[in-house]
């Protein structure tokens, strides 16, 4: 006869890894990098990894997670053939400007491939994805910087920050200080 239902919350509960891989099948393998940061680290050599984080820290003045950076670096390696040269070129521009923040050098990055790449790196950190498309690679959800800009007031959906019926505190004005992240 037929198979009876299996209670997924009972004895057949999937392992966490099984759950994650279950999720991965959704996005045709594109998500693999985000699931296993240690593998990602192995896939991108340490030098490149260091350069990528150096560039990221020049482009974004917030605390950046090395584990997320490793995943974005791997995505960048797959997407940009001349990644080492581009990293080098933009870092050189920043150093020439003695930049301590992105505003000090961004305007000097030439339009075209280099500027587009710099914007891609910023977008990857803020959105946690390689693009706005359905087939995007996901680098992170809850660590995407977009959520940090609103972390003093908004929940990252599915990660509640208040308690039962405790969401009535007054709204923040736009002039409230930007959260530190």
């Amino acid at each position: 006869m037929t198979r009876q239902s299996k209670d997924p919350n009972g004895t057949l509960m999937m392992s966490r890894r099984g759950i994650l891989l279950g999720g991965a099948t959704l996005f045709a393998g594109s998500i693999a990098a985000s699931l296993c940061p240690t593998l990602s680290l192995a896939a991108v050599d340490a030098g490149m990894q260091g350069q990528f984080m150096k560039l990221s820290n020049l482009l974004i003045q917030h605390q950046l997670s090395p584990a997320v950076g490793a995943r974005i670096a791997e995505g960048a390696t797959a997407q940009y053939k001349n990644l080492p040269q581009m990293l080098e070129a933009i870092i050189t521009i920043a150093e020439k400007n003695k930049a301590t923040q992105v505003e000090d050098f961004f305007a000097d990055i030439p339009e075209g491939e280099l500027k587009d790449f710099a914007l891609w790196v910023i977008a990857a950190w803020y959105s946690g994805s390689s693009s706005d498309k359905r087939d995007a690679t996901v680098f992170t959800y809850e660590e995407a910087l977009t959520f940090k800009t609103t972390s003093d007031i908004l929940t990252i959906p599915s990660y509640g920050i208040s308690g039962p019926n405790l969401w009535t505190r007054p709204n923040l004005p736009l002039s409230a200080p930007m959260p530190t992240f």
């Binding site: 239902s5 999720g23 803020y126 599915s158 509640g160 019926n165």
Partner: protein
């Protein structure tokens, strides 16, 4: 093919309609077998799927529920012949539902507006549409039972309740508090003379209920509540099994078999290996939702029922309805900060009523309370900003943009019709084809009524920009395809959702609804299911 006598009652589908009836029958001492097309998955898997989805598609409510080959359901990325729903007509009946154990309440918002007495008498009062087979007073006790069964919270102050008629019992939980943005929206609506009232919603308010925890503002009710504070039918499956139900999953019913007396004798299903099975029983309930039920009935045509089972009236698959909606996306100077609390928490309902309904549809307005990072981040990034300017722009756009939705009623129109497409799915079963036109009645409402009100609200919010959706979108409230009536020649089911043509077949849920009104209608689908459940218990008793 394997044949086996199964249970007193065979229920096809484990959505909210199916599980509510199953529990009633189990409690009355009957054996129940449930047959479910889709897989049974854990909440953790769905939550993980959603978190792993790219930010740009997080607004797609199906993204956490990839459909199985044997049980396809609409997915956001399908087009043309590939798509599960084959669509035609001036408007697109592009519904979303999922074929998983637990059904589409997995990703519903839980908004639960009752009908009003007038909503059920459109023909007598306004000369349009159809009257229901019974009146509001008949339905009212079933609403109360639905509210208690699902755990629907709502206001105790009659001035804040909908509809504005006396209730026979209070809500089982108090209403949820408004977020600051909703408070502000309510004040603004009041200046225009509109009451934005707390929505009755299937969400635990300030307390646990039915073994589920209190809502704690994860703002993720659509597409899944991570803690099951929102009712979904999956949460009932374990309890049903403890009470003795058998639930078969990955089992797609494709034929309802009749016997010489034109009673239902059995249902046939495919498993996920394309093996066929046959299950007989004494009484059958189809609870596959308002779109899959008519499809299954049409697929089941036989010599005795050449138009399909339950279709001597030729109304099966006709009168397909929903709540066509238009969204006004407003940009404001003042921060409203959508996204604090549950995703829908209030609404303006009085705009759904009035003598104008002889001319055009009414509309209900709601302030969508989804956190907006997922909608605005890429737009902010595309501006090419960096550093502090980028942080500030994302924060501004998250705080100062909002969606106001106008949801309309539609009239039952036999030309809005589901038929069987010549395109087939993985199992070789025909895909549903739906032709749809929201009709002049609804279009006129948008022109002369709902959009003008929506624009006034936007203006009062201080909107500096308003973008209006270019076409009607679906609300995913599937209604009408197995319409109810007292006259067997122009309706499919009677007042208890029993098929006019087959005394042991019940087809409860949205398909039976004779009018849509404007409010989200699952509460009415479930009230009809409980009414049908009572009738089934009586019928099984030989009453």
């Amino acid at each position: 093919m394997v044949t086996k006598t199964s249970a007193d009652v065979v229920i096809v589908g484990t959505g909210v309609v199916g599980v509510v009836i199953a529990e009633q029958l189990l409690d009355a001492g009957h054996s129940v077998l449930m047959i479910e097309a889709g897989p049974r998955v854990s909440r953790a898997e769905v939550v993980e799927n959603w978190r792993n989805a790219p930010l740009g598609v997080k607004g797609d409510t199906s993204v956490a529920y990839p459909s199985r080959p044997w049980a396809p359901h609409p997915m956001g990325n399908e087009k043309g012949d590939e798509a599960y729903l084959q669509l035609s007509g001036p408007d697109s009946y592009a519904q979303t539902f999922i074929r998983y154990a637990g059904g589409s309440t997995w990703h519903w918002a839980g908004t639960s507006w009752r009908l009003t007495p007038e909503d059920m008498r459109l023909k007598s009062l306004y000369g349009v549409g159809r009257d229901w087979a019974f009146d509001y007073d008949t339905l009212e006790p079933y609403y109360v039972r639905t509210e208690n069964k699902l755990g629907i919270c709502g206001p105790s102050d009659p001035a804040l309740q909908w509809p504005r008629v006396a209730r026979s019992a209070p809500y089982p939980m108090p209403h949820l508090p408004f977020s600051p943005g909703e408070e502000r929206f309510t004040e603004i609506a009041r200046t225009l003379g509109y009451n934005n009232i707390p929505v009755a919603q299937a969400r635990n308010s300030g307390m646990p209920y039915d073994g589920r925890p209190a809502c704690c503002a994860n703002n993720n009710c659509v597409p899944v509540c991570p803690v099951a504070a929102k009712y979904d039918a999956e949460t009932a499956l374990h309890r049903l099994e403890k009470k003795g139900a058998t639930i078969l999953v990955d089992s797609v019913v494709y034929k309802v078999e009749t016997n010489a007396q034109n009673k239902i004798e059995a249902v046939h299903f495919y498993d996920q290996h394309k093996e066929t099975h046959r299950i007989d029983g004494k009484l059958f309930v189809l609870a596959c939702n308002g779109l899959e039920n008519p499809k299954l009935l049409l697929m089941s045509k036989d010599d005795r029922n050449p138009n399909g089972v339950a279709n001597s009236s030729d109304q099966v698959g006709r009168n397909m309805m929903d709540h066509p909606q238009l969204t006004l996306t407003v940009t404001t100077k003042e921060p409203f900060w959508s996204g604090i609390g549950p995703v829908v928490n209030s609404g303006i309902m009085e705009t759904s009523q009035g003598s104008f309904r002889s001319e055009h549809a009414g509309a209900y307005f709601r302030y969508n309370n989804f956190a907006r990072n997922r909608f605005v981040t890429f737009a902010a990034l595309k501006k090419g900003l960096v550093g502090k300017a980028l942080d500030e722009e994302i924060r501004r756009m998250t705080a100062c943009t909002a969606d106001i939705v106008a949801a309309h009623e539609v009239l039952p129109d036999p030309n809005n019709r589901l038929t069987l497409s010549d395109k087939t799915d993985w199992l070789g079963l025909p895909k549903p084809h739906i032709h749809y036109d929201v009709g002049e009645y609804t279009r006129k409402s948008a022109e002369v009524y709902s959009l003008p009100i929506g624009k006034r609200i936007a203006e009062a919010m201080g909107a500096t920009d308003v973008k209006i959706s270019p076409k009607f979108n679906q609300s995913k409230h599937i209604m009408g395809g197995t319409i109810m009536g007292n006259d067997a020649s122009n309706s499919v089911v009677d007042a208890d959702c029993r098929a006019h043509d087959h005394e042991n077949l019940f087809i409860p849920g949205g398909g039976a609804m004779a009018s849509t009104a404007c409010g989200n209608s699952t509460i009415t689908m479930v009230a009809l299911a409980i009414k049908a459940g009572d009738a089934i218990v009586d019928q099984m008793r030989g009453a």
